[in-house]
């Protein structure tokens, strides 16, 4: 069985945020009023996080695209009182919107702060409402949501493969963010298959995971900046 994961090469990432936009469109992530955005209540299933590092003169600003880490040991799943978030056999941490009671225990337990709450009913400007993705359910107010690794795409691809009586081909299932990345910084696939690009990159000496010491075992793996940055600065 596949163990879906993602590699994000920070050398290739230009911080253009195409992934953020692609995700918002794909997953019906609602817009927010400016005053709500000011309060920091925007929902991003993937967002670009600026991480300032060090002090002058060694000061550095890093940008990290931050989707759900889909941890193998997810702290959110452990604490959900109603099992509204759980991990599939293929390692996707999913959210059952119709069951969530909105206690926000998972949002406080997640050390990556990538879980979002629907403070109000979702709202789109009038023409935009028409262009919502029919494959993804719209979340009501009062529930928690987050990146599902475009789980609906997996279901669709698998249904197609079953109909055509063949196994799921590599590359057939790709989340919207990975698909949209112009600099091909994001790679997606089966981490358990040693021949996929994603698992080869995951074994690279540049590979690291966020907050690894917490023991959450994320399946989103980053490749540290170094090679290209070094060549461009020298």
């Amino acid at each position: 069985m596949a163990r879906w994961g993602m590699v994000i090469d920070l050398d290739k990432c230009t911080a253009c945020q195409a992934c953020v936009i692609a995700c918002q469109v794909e997953n019906n992530v609602p817009f927010n009023k400016p005053e709500e955005a000011q309060k920091g209540r925007n929902i991003y299933w993937i967002k670009l996080v600026p991480l300032p590092e060090g002090r002058f003169p060694e000061a550095k600003m890093r940008f990290i695209p931050l989707p759900c880490m889909h941890c193998d040991e997810p702290p959110c799943v452990e604490v959900c009182p109603v099992d509204a978030t759980n991990i599939t056999p293929e390692g996707i941490v999913r959210q059952i919107f119709a069951r969530c009671i909105g206690c926000r225990y998972c949002t406080t337990a997640c050390p990556y702060t990538i879980r979002y709450f629907n403070w109000y009913p979702p709202d789109w400007p009038t023409p935009m409402e028409e262009s919502r993705n029919p494959d993804v359910s719209v979340r009501p107010k009062g529930v928690v949501e987050k990146c599902t690794l475009c789980h609906h795409r997996l279901q669709k691809a698998r249904a197609k493969a079953i109909a055509e009586n063949r196994p799921l081909a590599p590359g057939e299932y790709t989340p919207a963010c990975v698909e949209s990345c112009p600099s091909k910084a994001m790679v997606f696939g089966d981490l358990d298959d040693p021949n996929t690009e994603v698992s080869q990159l995951a074994r690279s000496p540049r590979a690291f995971r966020l907050l690894e010491d917490l023991g959450t075992k994320p399946k989103v793996i980053y490749l540290a900046e170094g090679e290209r940055s070094a060549t461009t600065t020298s």
Partner: protein, 451 residues
């Protein structure tokens, strides 16, 4: 031999303890005014909650990353206050502390009433309260929140039984007086006639419950602390949170009990029943708890400070010298400096002194809960910006409404049930003097000097 009790100058039995029946049988105008004031806050709370239900939790001051605010603070606080009753009353009963007789009832009622509001605080905090029963349908026993659901349910049931058992003989007393709502008291008295056998059974049942509720009460606040401690968030993930929360709970509980007792005493003229000595003894207990609370607080923060882990230090510094510093230091002043200054002086351990200390402690312990819940959330590891949390009017009204409705329930209880256990006071008068005398004889090597 002790002086036979019959010879001490008590009033005849029929008019004895008349003052304890008075709140039930006579209702003054002051009572209606009090109820009206309390109800007006309840009404504001309803308006606030309906607003929140209709529009969503966006009407609160909560944001990303501060997902939990004063609702969860209230939850921890109210559950803490509930330790006033059952635990203190059970411990005093088990120790045969004779001075407990007139205070146990008022303590036990606090527990039962306040648990409702503790549990209610969590319901109010839910984004989808109508799905709350999913905790039964889809229970995930890995979640500390579900442990809470279980232990609070058991605690509520246990405390309810523990409140009800000692009420039975009093219900029979009220039934036999036959003045008001006789059918109601007949129902609750369960056919109590006061025979020897009934007394023996009741005493046994109370003794069993008194022992049972102690571990339950300890488990409840331990589990409440584990909601926080079982996550990996900085300054939540602490091994001493269980006992720390239990100590804080008993601490704030005694303070709440002292305030309730002082109000009952002055409103219902129960100076003969709730005497200075009760306040002095509870005041001593409060002083011990204040020192114990400070010990835990000190140990917790010093360990974090020396650990010097960057994630934890950021939170710690935001408490000690950052945006939460005013609240943190107010907490230290309210929970430790003022109470110890007042209670440490024996001369000041009066009704007024203990109540003043208690008022500061109740405020301080609310701040303590806030200081535990919010700062840890405000600076997550992967967010350079910090969340600013300030409760909205909805949250403030709901909090005030919870407090006033709790007081309202308490006030209504005193209108239907005697707030001082009448039969236990009488039993104290009739039996326990000899019992204590006999008990002391068993402690001390014979021969005792007999007159």
């Amino acid at each position: 031999m002790p002086q036979p009790l019959a010879e001490t100058d008590f009033e005849p039995a029929e008019v004895q303890d008349e003052v304890l029946f008075r709140p039930i049988e006579k209702t003054t105008r002051r009572f209606y005014i009090t109820v009206a004031i309390l109800l007006s806050f309840t009404f504001l709370m309803l308006i606030a909650y309906i607003t929140q239900l209709r529009r969503g939790l966006g009407v609160t001051g909560l944001t990303i990353p501060v997902y939990w605010g004063i609702y969860i603070t209230n939850f921890v606080f109210f559950i803490g206050i509930s330790h006033a009753g059952t635990l203190i009353s059970a411990i005093l009963r088990i120790c045969h502390a004779e001075w407990r007789r007139s205070i146990t009832r008022s303590a036990e009622v606090i527990t039962v009433m306040v648990i409702l509001f503790g549990a209610g605080s969590v319901i109010v905090d839910l984004g989808r309260p109508e799905r709350a029963l999913n905790v039964i349908l889809h229970a995930n026993f890995h979640s500390p929140l579900l442990w809470d659901v279980c232990s609070i349910t058991v605690y509520f049931t246990g405390s309810m039984i523990y409140l009800y058992l000692p009420l039975i003989p009093d219900m029979a007393l009220l039934r036999d007086r036959g003045r008001k709502h006789q059918w109601f008291y007949r129902l609750l008295a369960l056919g109590w006639t006061g025979t020897e056998q009934q007394h023996r059974r009741l005493e046994k049942a109370i003794a069993v419950m008194a022992i049972l509720v102690i571990p339950i009460a300890v488990s409840v606040h331990t589990v409440v602390s584990w909601v926080f401690a079982m996550t990996v968030q900085p300054m939540w993930h602490s091994t001493i949170f269980g006992p720390y929360f239990v100590v804080g709970a008993i601490f704030s509980g005694i303070a709440a009990l002292l305030i309730a007792m002082a109000i009952i005493r002055s409103v219902y003229h129960l100076e003969e029943y709730l005497k200075e000595i009760h306040f002095r003894l509870l005041g001593q207990l409060l002083l011990v708890m204040a020192l114990l609370w400070f010990y835990f607080t000190f140990a917790e923060h010093l360990t974090t400070f020396y650990g010097n882990s960057p994630d934890e230090m950021r939170i710690l510094m935001s408490k000690l010298a950052g945006p939460y510093a005013p609240l943190f230091w107010a907490m230290i002043v309210c929970c430790f400096i003022i109470p110890v200054a007042i209670l440490g002086v024996p001369r000041w351990r009066t009704v007024r002194g203990t109540v003043a200390a208690s008022a500061f402690i109740v405020v301080g312990m609310w701040l303590e809960r806030f200081i535990i819940v919010v700062p840890s959330l405000s600076q997550p590891r992967l967010m350079p910006s910090q969340g600013v949390y300030w409760p909205s009017w909805v949250e403030v009204f709901i909090t005030l409404g919870f407090l006033s409705t709790f007081i309202l329930f308490y006030v209504l209880f005193t209108k239907f049930f005697p707030i001082v256990s009448i039969w236990e006071v009488r039993e104290g008068r009739e039996k326990s003097l000899e019992e204590v005398h006999d008990r002391v004889r068993t402690y001390i090597p014979l021969p005792l000097k007999e007159e």
